[in-house]
Symmetry: C2
Subunit: 284 residues, 2 copies
């Protein structure tokens, strides 16, 4: 039975997990661990966690969830595995999976680790960003499931099912390659759109009256946390550079069509891309 | 008094205007004109318009709203002005303002035209996309207001105020330059994101299970109508090419930072762009 859950990193993802676990499993005790005492106190006051804890307490854990920036996860995970009992499971929720799987591939407690990535989130961060039901109907990608002890993965998957997630299984290399396209590139696209518009318009503040909901939704991800995203781009460097090269080539081609007055070509580019409607219908 | 309003183009914008006018001004009769008989019949069945009409009927109009693609508007506007009475007003709602103002600058009925751009919309199109209250709290940019007869503009502005719009006045050149950044670039950014991801992933359909709400909102505008957007990019070619050059340069710089392992630089780019939060708060 999972009784004591320790959430390391009580921000958007860790905090939202804590809220849902407390809601769905009233008997469970949720402990919070965070570098920031402010965040820990906030999480306690907001009722996100039941109690504050430290890394030294992890020998009491049935489940540890690692919800911190991916570079910190890679550093911390081996030490956490050293601390926990043979009957505990550590699951991480990071947006890259190759490096974290590699760092523990020869760890004696590799079977006590589950590499996963719940595809859920918002552009906000910190304990105040924690919301209920964030994981309802969301995909949770699990990597190298065969390397995790069956009884431990079963307990964890049951819990995540209760939170509304559906599981998909994938190897870490495929995960990191595809997530670069469907998630990491979207973030860079939004950040650079925000940068471009700010650079042009920052001396004309009221010009933003002209911005409608289209700009707002396209640029939304540019509110995201640099502390979380920098290590993701670092760990997934090769794939992210590939996606950026494709994206820049497509933008350059579109610009050339406009410059050459090939507006039939411009029309066809957009017409073909309208296919995204079917794809997005599939997501919903 | 505005009694007979003729909406040319009963799609997303024209249809939504018709719905709100019928709601706020029950005494007004709303006529619909459209190249597509299907769309006209749909608009009638959906209660978007009161009655079908043709261009020959425009001598009965108190107000004509031109809500068709911007290239068609530029062609049609002079003929409409030729048809209407001295007491009628024609307002267009297009996303570019330089060409339409130029085509009627020497027209004897220039004072019967109001160039405007309500900054509102969704990614959908056609009469079925028409929704109530689309213009609530939205900005309506009016260009060359001094060239429109005062009594006519006053009547129109009263009506648009009733629909929830706030008016802003701007010259056509400034409008087209700034709107390229805050609207046209967002659309190209989304279309090319959609294209890049589709090209990479189209043979692996279930990969889109990995796409979360972040991808969905960033790519949303790639559902937009090519028939509407192609002439916008054509009319605003110089400004759109400028914005694309800036955007591509920023993306290329970001890619170079990653390639050079300058992750402090990557962090700072995102940190600086987080300033978009304050800007978006100002919009809401």
């Amino acid at each position: 039975m999972i009784q004591n859950i320790y959430i390391i990193g009580v921000g958007l993802i860790g905090g939202s997990l804590a809220l849902d676990i407390k809601n769905k499993r009233p008997g469970v005790k949720v402990f919070g661990i965070d570098n920031s005492q402010d965040h820990l106190n906030q999480a306690l006051e907001l009722g996100v966690i039941d109690q504050k804890a430290t890394l030294e307490d992890l020998d009491q854990a049935d489940l540890v969830v690692l919800a911190i920036p991916v570079d910190a996860s890679v550093q911390l995970l081996p030490k956490i595995l050293d601390t926990i009992t043979d009957f505990a499971l550590v699951a991480d929720v990071g947006s890259t999976k190759v490096d974290i799987c590699k760092v523990v591939e020869n760890h004696p407690k590799r079977r006590n680790f589950l590499a996963m990535h719940p595809i859920a989130g918002t552009e906000f961060s910190g304990p105040k960003a924690a919301v209920k039901d964030l994981f309802q109907h969301k995909t949770n990608i699990i990597c190298e499931v065969e390397k995790t002890a069956f009884k431990l993965q079963e307990k964890a998957v049951n819990l995540f099912n209760d939170l509304g997630m559906r599981m998909r299984y994938m190897n870490p290399e495929s995960h990191d390659k595809h997530i670069a396209y469907v998630s990491h590139l979207s973030h860079i696209s939004a950040f650079m759109l925000g940068k471009t518009v700010i650079a042009k318009e920052k001396n004309e503040r009221d010009i933003f009256d002209m911005a409608g909901s289209g700009f707002e939704s396209t640029v939304r991800l540019a509110k995201s946390s640099p502390a979380m995203w920098t290590p993701i781009f670092k760990q997934n460097k090769a794939n992210v550079v590939d996606t950026l090269e494709d994206y820049i080539a497509n933008l350059t081609h579109f610009k050339t069509l406009i410059e050459n007055d090939d507006f039939e070509g411009v029309y066809n580019e957009m017409k073909d891309t309208n296919y995204i409607k079917q794809i997005l219908n599939g997501i919903q």
